[in-house]
């Protein structure tokens, strides 16, 4: 069997690459489009504005401590 003139293992590699690259899209369509699961940042303020000059947000652990 030689789909598109390729030996089956090579053809499967092409198919796996396309499937592998599309995993995110498949997940997105099933979970967020069909099942309408939320993204986790819908509530205003759950994506905090980042401090430009690099100060840590107040909820961040202190330097040197365990996480």
């Amino acid at each position: 069997m030689k789909p598109l003139g390729l030996p089956l293992p090579m053809f499967l590699v092409f198919a796996i690459v396309i499937l592998g690259g599309s995993l995110g899209l498949i997940h997105y369509l099933i979970v967020h489009v069909l099942l309408r699961r939320p993204f986790g940042d819908e509530v205003p303020g759950t994506l905090p504005r980042f401090a430009i000059r690099g100060e840590r947000p107040t909820t961040e652990p202190s330097e040197g401590g365990s996480r």
């Binding site: 030689k2 598109l4 003139g5 390729l6 030996p7 293992p9 090579m10 590699v13 092409f14 796996i16 690459v17 396309i18 499937l19 592998g20 690259g21 599309s22 995993l23 995110g24 899209l25 997940h27 997105y28 967020h32 993204f39 986790g40 940042d41 759950t46 994506l47 905090p48 504005r49 980042f50 430009i52 000059r53 690099g54 100060e55 840590r56 961040e60 652990p61 202190s62 330097e63 040197g64 401590g65 365990s66 996480r67």
Partner: protein
């Protein structure tokens, strides 16, 4: 080629004028340092998707991948392309958490998971060197390719390309970069589709192309290159390319630029699907190139010359013009993104750490200055790149994956991990991975990437266990002391 090709040269000039016009328009929309760095964190799904696609496909991909297929067949799909595509999908599955952390750069992320702000300039320095080396090598490839196509001497072409992308990146930051990327991404994908369609008609269809390609050498259509690649090497190459997706500065900057988690997810989901089809078509175009050139007696000794030869000598001029525009898009969309990323690394990860109280306007000036200076330095280096740059460039994928992939991304989810364990694992991965790469690319039969990643995993678990046991002892002693004080 005897002299510059007027059609290709005209296409090149018109294309540059179009980009500069977009850049001037975009520059008016760049008002704050957050606009310059991360598009004001307002990038929508369409722009984010096409910007990522355009950035992803470089001149090295176009010339190098088609050249690799010309020389070795389709086995590139088994390791490099599969690693890259699964990397995009893998990043999709962690992007929700990364975007919610709202870090702007990869060193920000490292600082968050290690609990040490000093990690920002340290990781930033590694990424700065890595990004700059990548930029130099892109410019070298781009200069050679465009010289071969247009006939303009290399020393002029590399400076023309250099000045164009430095100008529009420095003027508008990520706003310029993203809007030019949108145009470049569409042109790039369209040109490859048109070229492959022409080749399919010219050579009698895909089945005919693949059959003739297999007749040239049966190993060309074998996933392991006819057994030339061991599964260990395939696995290590796969892992190295897979890991770079998670650890490159420009990927994190793009995630930060999206306006919300939904956009961040959409841009990776859509890019992964489009890129996986695009790369499959590009690899098939490489096979068609080999069949066309060898079949018509135009075979080349240097595989990297295959694609330029196809453009300049095989296809009709109008297809050649489309491919020149596609190639220019691949070149500029990758170099502008990398230049923007290293300019931001200097200002955001290094400069602002040492001078945390400077104004936003000051940081934007630092970003612009770093962008111009590092761009000029990369262009100058690309004129005649020293051997050390080429050697160092070969180390970057192994270094980034070995040092950062496992410790940083495991720590995002395993919040009980000790920050010191994460830091120790990063250092161990970097030292072992880089050491193995320097001393011949492996330790015994084990490739450098596996060595580096293995060392990072081992030290992450070991140091977390040791530090965790010590903390338990300290807590127990403190409890005993408190009890004695009470009694």
């Amino acid at each position: 080629m005897n002299g510059p090709n007027p059609y290709f040269l005209a296409a090149f000039v018109l294309y540059v004028i179009l980009l500069m016009a977009i850049a001037v328009w975009a520059a008016r929309r760049t008002k704050t340092v957050m606009d310059f760095w991360v598009f004001g964190q307002k990038m929508g799904p369409v722009l984010a998707t096409w910007s990522l696609i355009a950035n992803f496909v470089s001149s090295v991909s176009v010339i190098g991948f088609t050249g690799a297929v010309y020389a070795s067949g389709y086995s590139l799909m088994t390791h490099t392309i599969l690693g890259l595509m699964l990397g995009v999908s893998g990043l999709y599955f962690v992007v929700g958490l990364v975007r919610r952390l709202n870090v702007l750069t990869f060193p920000d992320l490292v600082a968050r998971v290690t609990g040490r702000q000093a990690a920002r300039p340290l990781a930033g320095s590694v990424l700065l060197l890595s990004g700059w080396l990548y930029l130099v090598m892109q410019l070298v490839g781009a200069g050679l390719l465009v010289t071969a196509i247009t006939g303009v001497p290399y020393q002029y072409m590399v400076w023309i390309i250099g000045i164009v992308f430095i100008l529009y990146t420095a003027v508008g930051g990520l706003v310029s970069v993203a809007w030019t990327d949108l145009v470049q991404g569409v042109i790039m994908v369209a040109s490859v589709v048109v070229a492959l369609a022409y080749m399919l008609v010219d050579l009698g269809g895909l089945t005919e192309i693949n059959t003739r390609f297999a007749e040239m050498n049966p190993a060309f259509v074998d996933p392991t290159g006819g057994g030339q690649l061991s599964w260990l090497v395939i696995g290590a190459t796969f892992l190295a390319f897979f890991g770079t997706l998670f650890t490159e500065q420009d990927m994190l900057i793009r995630i930060a630029a999206t306006k919300d988690v939904r956009t961040a997810k959409i841009h990776l989901a859509a890019s992964g699907a489009i890129l996986s089809v695009f790369y499959s078509l590009l690899i098939l175009l490489g096979g068609a190139t080999a069949v066309a050139l060898v079949g018509s007696g135009m075979g080349v000794d240097n595989p990297d010359a295959a694609f330029p030869t196809l453009i300049t000598q095989y296809v009709p001029t109008w297809i050649g013009v489309a491919l020149v525009l596609g190639v220019m898009s691949a070149i500029l969309s990758t170099t502008d993104t990398r230049l923007h990323a290293i300019g931001m690394t200097v200002a955001r990860d290094i400069y602002s750490y040492f001078r945390p109280n400077v104004s936003d306007a000051h940081l934007m000036r630092v970003s612009r200055t770093a962008t111009v200076l590092l761009g000029l330095l990369a262009t100058a280096a690309a004129m005649n790149p020293p051997g050390t740059i080429i050697v160092l460039y070969g180390f970057r994928a192994v270094l980034l994956t070995s040092a950062f992939l496992i410790p940083v991304y495991v720590a995002i989810y395993w919040t009980a991990l000790d920050g010191r364990a994460v830091l120790a694992a990063i250092i161990a991965g970097a030292v072992v991975g880089l050491g193995a790469q320097i001393t011949g690319g492996s330790i015994g039969p084990v490739p450098a990437t596996f060595c580096g990643v293995g060392a990072a995993v081992a030290l992450l678990l070991l140091s977390h266990w040791v530090l965790g046991s010590r903390r338990k002892q300290e807590v127990a002693l403190a409890t005993v002391a408190a009890d004695e004080g009470v009694s």
